[in-house]
Symmetry: C2
Subunit: 398 residues, 2 copies
């Protein structure tokens, strides 16, 4: 019996590498003991939410148990949340935004899916620098969109506008950019973004169906060594920015994100109305009310980034001492070092023998590298040093 759709069956047999390695880690914990496994596979933000979350939640407990206190709201989100977020984003993006330009969403993922549903026709193409977050393919694929990864050059994987522009076709509808980047930690420069946006703006002058520049920014506050994450809305009227509080407030499980549309876009109301419709009819209906109220109460807070920075520095030391080649990430909380010799799957298998769980780069559209997620306790990183060294010694042996 065919219980499920053919393309879903196909997707199930190609389980994501992240998930596969995470499960391998669970197996390994049983055989080696949990303290001898160094699991850098999954990115579940483990730094506690800001302490103020407790106070905000207690206040909510006292205020919401009343008629419609947890009820429906406008599909675009709580007006107070959208207004406050508009103020914050106006500052961040250096463009004056009002609440009406913001849609509260079920995380950044919900924002991406709602956006793709609103703008893609079947057969439309979404260009994305590779390596890339693999779920993107699903998000546009549900509606007949085709993800077109465009390889960037390692080891730093800086944005290469010319490489992206060379792949533009009549069917290109979106260029999707994630900076600070998962999995590379790269932060795209103002100059590269400007180059790309100028070219897209010129292309759009002659197009009936414009190319959008879609910026996925859940890691915006994760910028280290004084790195600057440039604002993106000023780059183009066709730039749209989305983000979430999953990482910045460690609220990943509550699913609160947003999408902000550029007031400079001619027809901005049409795009906003379309996003409101797709957000509603994709079954999200509205972003979770407790999450919106919690994020509103914590809008000017963030998790303790010094914890992430200490991990980043420790991981850099561990990898350097073991002899891996990598570019020090200035953003997000991932490392994307080279697999010695280029076989990322073989190298991950070797690492696993020594208790280290990493994800092969091919899981992000870039074989020859591995991804390490540093959303784990500092002690796991420091204790992994010998395991990395042993794996490198074994893997590099003739």
């Amino acid at each position: 019996m065919q219980l499920i759709a053919a393309d879903i069956e196909n997707a199930m047999t190609n389980a994501s590498w992240i998930r596969r390695m995470f499960e391998a880690g669970n197996d390994l914990r049983r055989t080696r003991g949990a303290d001898q496994v160094f699991d850098f596979s999954l990115g579940n933000p483990d730094v506690p939410p800001p302490a103020k979350a407790r106070e905000v939640l207690h206040a909510l407990a006292d205020s919401v148990v009343k008629p419609c206190g947890l009820g429906y709201m406008p599909n675009a989100g709580l007006p107070a949340f959208r207004e406050a977020l508009a103020q914050k984003l106006s500052h961040e993006q250096e463009v004056p935004l009002e609440g009406k330009h913001i849609l509260a969403t079920v995380g950044a993922a919900g924002a991406l899916v709602a956006f793709f549903r609103a703008v893609l026709e079947p057969g439309d193409e979404v260009l994305v620098p590779a390596p890339y977050f693999v779920e993107y393919g699903f998000y546009c694929g549900h509606f007949g969109g085709k993800l077109r990864p465009v390889p960037m050059q390692g080891p730093d994987f800086a944005l290469d506008p010319a490489a992206l522009l060379a792949q533009v076709t009549d069917r290109t509808r979106v260029v999707l950019l994630n900076s600070p980047n998962n999995p590379t930690g790269a932060i795209y420069s103002q100059a590269a973004l400007q180059h790309l946006a100028s070219a897209v703006n010129t292309l759009n002058d002659a197009r009936k169906r414009p190319i959008y520049l879609l910026f996925d920014e859940p890691y915006r506050v994760f910028a280290f060594d004084g790195a600057n994450v440039p604002p993106v809305l000023p780059l183009s009227p066709f730039s749209v920015v989305l983000g979430s509080f999953s990482k910045s407030l460690s609220l990943a499980g509550e699913r609160v994100g947003y999408v902000a549309v550029n007031p400079a876009l001619e027809g901005v109301e049409t795009l906003l109305a379309a996003l409101t419709l797709t957000n509603r009819t994709l079954g999200y209906v509205n972003a979770p009310i407790l999450g919106q109220k919690l994020a509103l109460g914590l809008l000017h807070e963030q998790v303790d980034l010094t914890i992430y920075d200490a991990r980043r520095k420790a991981m850099a030391t561990v990898l350097s001492q073991a002899g891996l080649r990598f570019s020090l990430p200035r953003g997000a909380f991932y490392f994307f070092p080279e697999a010695p010799g280029g076989d990322d799957v073989a190298f991950c298998q070797c690492l696993m023998k020594h208790g280290v769980i990493a994800v092969p780069g091919r899981g992000f559209g870039m074989p020859g590298y591995i991804r390490l997620c540093c959303a784990v306790d500092l002690s796991i990183i420091t204790r992994s040093a010998e395991a990395f060294k042993a794996a490198m010694a074994e893997f590099s042996a003739p």
Copy 2:
């Protein structure tokens, strides 16, 4: 410039009747004054959540501000929530369910969309008794599914299995049933459900792609006059049930629902894995964590149903005294009376002149009737009596 997809643009120009009437109500409040408007358009459950919600939320405030306290979880939901829900549903559905048979979802809407994505191929048909909740068309349409409404007979709109079965084709993939029903308040009988399920079971013996019986049950606890809402999982291995806590706990804005798959289905693990994948990749990722924890704490509570019952009785009196023809609903919180003479839009316009906001039946695929939602304070219902009488006098005048 074409900013959005053509089918979304088309959907936007056909705004839902519910939304249109709700907005007309807002205009009317400005001109007549809020106390002279009797708005029965939208179904935002307004009875407060159970008092225990406050205690549960305070306990959460003390427990979640810790590493991963609000973090990701398995995409299918919190194990403790799924286990507890399985126990509750085992009792309700008279089929032994385990946590693994349950998926926590972003409301019932999220469950419907995840299910349709998991099983529909483009061109597949979803049969639904009319009148029906109009969002169903979007939920399956996103993936090329076609909603096929099958008219039931008023005034009580009981389930007519023969009428549904007469519309089955090779492309029929789902029969979607909502009982207690929005908009009619009908509760489908055990006998009618059994008739339908037996026929579908027989059809499925000869089909490679089975027909699912999908039961949308957000109103299950809203049953009055001692009415029984029969369990549906025992009817067929192909029956799937979904629901939410939006109405039963007045948590509509927090978006917590579920889908439960029949353990008797051969290949049940495949369907569950597909639902877990679609729930993840549609951008829901997981149902909101605060909502799941709140619903877990309130699993054996429900809103005060005597409030809804009193409204139902009051509305019946108001409508009877005004001379409208209707079947007394035994479930949910809607009335679906006839529009005198058959023109539902004209009748709604006449009602509006007298301050009453109702939704034309054509907004639910059934012209000739109007829908009245009783999720409003009792006083609004009783105070609307004269307005209904005046509208009837005017509308029935030669």
